[in-house]
């Protein structure tokens, strides 16, 4: 079974030159995502799991394996902030 990641509904996403400013309607909260976090957020489209997203971000930015933990940390932040949720495939 795979845990796929997807963006939650009810977010108002605003793009600025350095990333995303997201307004979360349900909790009346504003989130600020830098460029990397914004890319990770975009990759959470319901068709990929965390390992796939980590691999893609590493490829995109030409990163070493040592970056895995940092990218996973960013995914965890998106999950804990309620911007992304996981569902079993």
């Amino acid at each position: 079974m795979t845990e796929l990641l997807m963006r939650v509904d009810g977010l108002e996403v605003n793009e600025v030159p350095d990333g995303y400013v997201i307004y979360e309607t349900a909790r009346d909260r504003v989130h600020y995502l830098n460029k990397t976090a914004a890319i990770i957020f975009e990759l959470c489209d319901g068709s990929r799991d965390a390992a796939d997203i980590v691999a893609r971000v590493k490829l995109l930015f030409d990163l070493e394996s040592s970056a895995d933990a940092e990218i996973r940390g960013a995914i965890d932040s998106l999950l804990s902030e309620g911007l992304v949720l996981s569902h079993s495939n």
Partner: protein, 271 residues
């Protein structure tokens, strides 16, 4: 703006007090609706009458002034009901617009006056509405504190002729039309911002500035925004939209000449 308010009174004392609210910029756009508010002495108090209807009754000219000050602010909010209102001075140089963002007492007016002497046009010194169609300064005279007088060359002479008000803390505040301070005109237009500068008071020190990211800029501008909870999502969206087209800077506001040089550099960096 959707309305132009005329304050009318035959009472000399009330007239002198109301000069603090005087403000007559040229505003781009369609002709405004005319609204007259009369201040009528009645027995031992004043009646404030708007379009023939009694609005309020006040005992003193000072309370008339304070009451109208609040009323005019509310009328201006009604012109842009869903727009966030940012604590910012708005200035133009040629086709470029710069916003100086900061809290009350952060140095916006003093820096705006210094920039005015350097050739900038001041649109407003305190509030800017952020609408989906662009930014527009709230029409209001510049509110100059006595403490600005030694900083801006020639200002004491200009203030001597300006209407003033003593705030509850005993500080005298002057109402200044930018034209009194040497501006050839006073025009307010709707449009975008090319540079947004956050002011960090560094009184007594030197001025310096640095670029900041658009994310930081949105966060800081949101902190200086007045919005209702109902409009928060829309406010975030319009603020992000205007920040997206502007360069952001953080200005440590110390010596005035250095601060003017920093703002000039910030605008030069756009070319």
């Amino acid at each position: 703006m959707s309305r132009r308010v005329t304050l009318a009174t035959a009472d000399r004392e009330a007239f002198a007090a109301l000069r603090f609210l005087e403000c007559d910029p040229e505003i781009a756009g369609p002709p405004p609706e005319e609204l007259t508010i009369s201040i009528e002495p009645h027995r031992t108090y004043y009646r404030i009458v708007q379009n023939g209807e009694l609005l309020r009754e006040q005992m003193t000219t000072k309370s008339v002034l304070e009451s109208l000050h609040a009323h005019l602010f509310i009328l201006s909010l009604a012109d842009h009901p869903a727009a966030p209102l940012v604590h910012a001075a708005s200035l133009r140089r040629g086709e470029r617009r710069v916003l100086l963002v900061g809290p009350k007492g952060g140095g916006k007016t003093t820096l705006a006056l210094c920039l005015l002497q350097d050739g900038y046009e001041v649109e407003g010194d305190e509030h800017v509405f952020v609408t989906p169609e662009g930014l527009i300064a709230r029409p209001r005279g510049l509110r100059v504190k006595e403490s600005a007088a030694p900083i801006v060359p020639g200002l004491p002479k200009v203030l001597a002729a300006a209407a003033s008000y003593q705030d509850p803390h005993g500080h005298r505040i002057y109402n200044l039309d930018p034209r009194q301070s040497g501006a050839p005109s006073w025009r307010i237009e709707r449009g975008g911002a090319d540079a947004v500068i956050l002011l960090r008071p560094n009184h007594g020190g030197y001025s310096s500035f640095r670029p900041i990211s658009s994310l930081t800029l949105v966060r800081e501008v949101m902190a200086e925004c007045g919005i209702t909870r109902m409009d928060r999502g829309k406010a975030v969206s319009v603020v992000a939209k205007f920040i997206g087209t502007a360069k952001g800077y953080d200005l440590s506001l110390g010596d005035p000449a250095g601060a003017v040089a920093c703002v000039n550099k910030a605008l030069e960096g756009l070319f």
